[in-house]
């Protein structure tokens, strides 16, 4: 049988029919090719970026957990109030795990494009084969063996897969360079230089071949279905009654949906405590994906039901077009299930992504609003530079606090004058900060929340500091980011992990830092809540222009720093946007293809409308109306699915990262999701609508 199939695959019959089929259904063919190509290209781009990110990160001891190089710096040890030492997590490993999660999320995210591409291939072949039932029956009645019929479609799939896979590798090259040029990496903490960039062709070809194999898998089921077809019935135009397959699947999905939701609710705490963070993330993502898939299977029913509601909501004396769209959706809405599911999946992922980045940006803003936002920072950005000369230039309204630079990450400490901390706390007018400032002084340390979490110490515990400058046990005076923070030009996460010690203890860190006064924090004593940065900054600018004393010193206002961090967060997640943009493009192709298939199947119906007096424009409006409905329902379901998905993602972020993120849903995200879904769907419906209008006119003309 297999030998026969292989012979048939290369036989004249399969060659002629498959070539003709591909040429006749150009739109479907290209949709399937693009499905494979864009899906593979997306995964390939992520692969290239990840390979290069890894290569760059492996060169630095900070980003390579396996690096044996360690910088000379202080050692820190947390100690409980009763004197018991506390084991701290390895900061490098912990940070690395955070970035591994992001890396995994990006890789998983790229699979969304792959999935949509595979779905396009699958449904294109399913629709094409369904449409060719009578043709297949004819071949069978003329003596074509099952393997000959199968060979026709497999040959089509092979051609589509091969061209798609080739284009997938080809397209990935410029896309990867463009992504690297835009500063995208898979961790957000490296910079890929174009001249250093390498392309792992072996793995890229493997990915594309897997994409091609997916296309081949996509054809198997439709071919198996078609080979079961009853030849005589199909030739007589008696469509075989719908098998109980789909309804059985839907029946299972009906059980799967509540079951999965229940499993999720019941098992979540267990998973969260019992599994390591990455596994927890994988399980949570898996459960949400299962939920999403179950919903996809249910979509046709949902669409039909919503269509029914829409039809009932329409006024009784509506125009013919409105009536036809409503009735069509109400009675055959299930046929729009696939485009709706595509829109739903893509926009649900986009919404969930933006909910997550929104949560991360809010975390940055909340952190900055605690105190950083109202400060002006002078930071040395070059060897030998110091901000000390600026002190004399500041106007009287400026409250200047001198700090040292920081010891290298991860054991980051800097020294601040204790009087400055006290003035800072009083200026902000917060009793909790004043309390901390009062406890601060020689022998005390203020820890940032992330540093406190890392060493598992809190107010009243101790931190042992040892190094070339000596050894000392420091009492934790408080845990806050709102006083004592001195800006460092480092990754956001690293910059937030630090401790502040008194200038009297600066000797402990002296060999590893530049002295107090090298770096400055400036507050507006006259208007601390709304500082006049221009007034504070003016004399410094003059000084920078007239002298070289501040050469190599960077001046940054807290709010500017915050805005930059927010932008950076956006940039870190830009790669997700790109992946989802490609997925959205694929979804548009999928929707257009599906609508085109439906339009083709309904061309006689459109002819009837024309003979009843409808214009081409009316026919076009019917298809566009269905497109709008597809977008609206898809968008609504995307919100329905995307919000819990976003909630789960934020929960996963909270569980696996050191960031204190919280779920929030901005209203305009919902509005934008709906608007973008409708816009995408309408755009995708343009070509099928044009085809429907043109086709109806042509059929009428031909009589």
């Amino acid at each position: 049988m297999f030998a026969g199939f292989l012979r048939a695959l290369f036989g004249r019959f399969a060659a002629l029919i498959s070539a003709r089929n591909l040429r006749t259904d150009r739109f479907g063919t290209w949709a399937a090719i693009l499905g494979v190509a864009l899906g593979s290209a997306t995964v390939n781009v992520v692969l290239v970026l990840d390979a290069n990110t890894r290569a760059i990160e492996s060169r630095s001891w900070v980003t390579n957990p396996d690096s044996e190089r360690t910088p000379t710096t202080i050692a820190l040890q947390g100690v409980r109030a009763d004197g018991t030492p506390i084991e701290a997590a390895d900061a490098k490993e912990e940070t690395h795990e955070d970035y591994e999660v992001m890396r995994s999320a990006i890789r998983l995210g790229s699979l969304s494009a792959y999935l949509v591409g595979a779905l396009i291939v699958f449904f294109t072949f399913a629709a094409v084969i369904e449409r060719k039932k009578r043709e297949v029956a004819l071949y069978r009645s003329l003596g074509a063996l099952p393997e000959q019929v199968a060979a026709v479609f497999v040959r089509e799939a092979v051609l589509v897969a091969a061209i798609g896979a080739f284009l997938g590798v080809l397209a990935a090259i410029p896309l990867s360079y463009a992504a690297a040029l835009a500063g995208m990496t898979t961790t957000g903490r490296a910079r890929i230089h174009l001249h250093d960039m390498t392309l792992p062709f072996g793995r890229m070809i493997t990915v594309s071949l897997i994409g091609a194999a997916t296309a081949l898998l996509g054809v198997i089921r439709p071919v198996r279905e078609i080979l079961r077809l009853h030849v005589a019935d199909a030739l007589a135009g008696r469509a075989a009654s719908e098998s109980d397959g789909p309804s059985r699947v839907r029946g299972l999905a009906r059980i799967a949906l509540p079951f999965t939701a229940l499993l999720f609710v019941l098992m979540r705490p267990f998973f969260k405590n019992a599994l390591p963070s990455l596994a927890f993330f994988a399980v949570e993502a898996g459960v949400v994906c299962a939920l999403a898939l179950a919903t996809v299977v249910l979509v046709p029913d949902v669409v039909a039901r919503l269509g029914g509601l829409l039809a009932r909501a329409l006024p009784a004396r509506s125009s013919a077009v409105r009536l036809l769209v409503a009735r069509r959706v109400a009675r055959r809405g299930g046929e729009l299930g696939l485009p709706v599911a595509g829109i739903m999946l893509v926009f649900a992922l986009l919404l969930a992504l933006h909910i997550s980045t929104h949560a991360l940006k809010r975390e940055v803003i909340a952190w900055a609003q605690g105190g950083v936002e109202r400060c002006l920072f002078l930071v040395p950005d070059a060897r030998g530079a110091t901000a000390e000369p600026a002190i004399a230039a500041f106007p009287p309204r400026a409250m200047v606090i001198r700090t040292s630079t920081r010891t290298p990450w991860p054991n980051a400490l800097h020294a601040v004058e204790s009087a400055g901390i006290a003035r800072w706390a009083r200026l902000l007018g917060r009793p909790d900060l004043v309390e901390i400032a009062d406890r601060f002084g020689p022998g005390a340390v203020i820890l940032s929340p992330m540093m406190s979490r890392r060493f598992h110490v809190s107010t009243g515990d101790f931190l042992d500091v040892s190094g070339k400058g000596g050894q000392k046990r420091l009492r934790v005076a408080g845990v806050t980011d709102d006083i004592g923070y001195a800006l460092v030009l480092d990754a956001y996460r690293n910059g937030k992990t630090y401790g502040v010690i008194d200038e009297a203890d600066a000797g402990l860190i002296a060999p590893y830092v530049r002295p107090i006064g090298t770096s400055l924090v400036v507050l507006d004593a006259e208007s601390p809540a709304e500082p006049d940065f221009r007034a504070l900054f003016a004399p410094i600018r003059d000084m920078q222009h007239t002298t070289s004393k501040l050469r190599g010193v960077r001046v940054l206002a807290g709010e500017g720093f915050m805005a930059e961090r927010v932008r950076e967060t956006g940039r870190d997640f830009l790669i997700f946007d790109v992946i989802l943009f490609l997925t959205t493009a694929l979804a548009a192709i999928g929707v257009a293809n599906q609508l085109a298939i439906l339009v083709h199947a309904r061309r006689r119906e459109f002819l009837l409308y024309r003979t009843l007096g409808m214009t081409s424009s009316d026919v076009r409006t019917i298809v566009l109306g269905e497109g709008a409905f597809t977008g609206l329902v898809g968008g609504a379901l995307a919100v329905f699915l995307g919000v819990p998905l976003g909630y789960a993602t934020v929960g996963a972020l909270r569980a696996v990262s050191a960031f204190d993120v919280a779920f929030a849903l901005p209203t305009h995200y919902v509005v934008l999701t709906l608007a973008a879904s409708v816009a995408l769907s309408l755009t995708a419906a343009l070509y099928p609508a044009h085809n429907a209008a043109r086709g109806a006119a042509r059929i009428e003309h031909e009589g």
């Binding site: 003709r20 009645s141 005589a232």
Partner: protein, 253 residues
């Protein structure tokens, strides 16, 4: 001119004995064929008449091996269909020609490619001479590169007939080949079909509604209540359409 009569005493190309076929529509079972007995000798042509839905197409589908009968025996081109699996029945169909009422041409293939299709299915290069000769014969030599959508209904049926005959089959099954074209074109198509078959000494089993067309056959069988009713009086060259019409009336068809 009536179709050819039995030409040899060779074994029949079609031998049906007590053929039965039932269809289930939910709870209801409909017995379409209730014991069909039919023998078709090599070179013989036979028209089958009967009202719509009586099972004429099912009978042809059974002979073609497209439908499995529920009872009785069917021997076609020397093979007992019951003993053949789907693959063997498919290969057997390659020795037949089938013509349908609705033409069933492949829309993406040209006229020439549609006619040559049986060769391709056989895995052989098309016999260009045979294809050209048949296209010439059916008057479509100038339309070889046209697609089916560019042909009239009658022309499409001529292509379908050419396709059915191109491999010189021993048996042709035609299911109302004139049912979807006008009367004049139908006459022309039937005349051509019978002429080519006579020349090829092939057998023809044809289903028709039209007494005038049935009158061109040396043998006419009537399908009524699931069984074939032959009429010796209606066999032979002198049968008139009116006689067939009367017989149909008598039978209540």
């Amino acid at each position: 001119m009536p179709a050819a009569e039995k030409t040899t005493s060779d074994p029949p190309v079609v031998h049906l004995s007590g053929l039965e076929k039932r269809y289930a529509f939910g709870e209801t079972h409909v017995e379409v064929l209730r014991g069909i007995d039919l023998e078709l000798a090599p070179g013989e042509s036979c028209a089958i008449m009967g009202p719509s839905g009586v099972g004429k197409s099912t009978l042809l589908a059974c002979v073609a091996g497209l439908v499995s009968p529920d009872g009785g025996a069917a021997r076609v081109l020397g093979h007992d269909l019951a003993k053949l699996d789907d693959r063997a029945r498919t290969l057997l169909r390659r020795r037949m020609g089938i013509v349908y009422q609705f033409f069933h041409l492949v829309p993406n293939l040209t006229v020439r490619e549609n006619v040559a299709l049986p060769f391709l299915i056989d895995g052989n290069p098309p016999d260009d001479a045979a294809v050209d000769a048949l296209l010439e014969r059916v008057g479509l030599r100038s339309r070889t590169s046209h697609l089916p959508s560019q042909l009239s209904g009658g022309e499409m049926q001529l292509v379908a007939i050419a396709r059915a005959l191109v491999k010189r089959p021993a048996l042709v099954l035609a299911d109302e080949p004139t049912g979807n074209v006008n009367v004049e074109t139908g006459r022309r198509i039937l005349a051509l079909l019978l002429e080519v078959l006579r020349e090829a000494s092939a057998s023809l089993l044809l289903v028709t509604h039209h007494p005038e067309h049935a009158a061109r056959f040396a043998r006419v069988e009537f399908l009524k209540d699931g069984v074939l009713v032959a009429d010796a009086a209606l066999a032979g060259p002198a049968v008139s359409p009116e006689a067939i019409h009367d017989r149909l009336k008598t039978l209540g068809i």
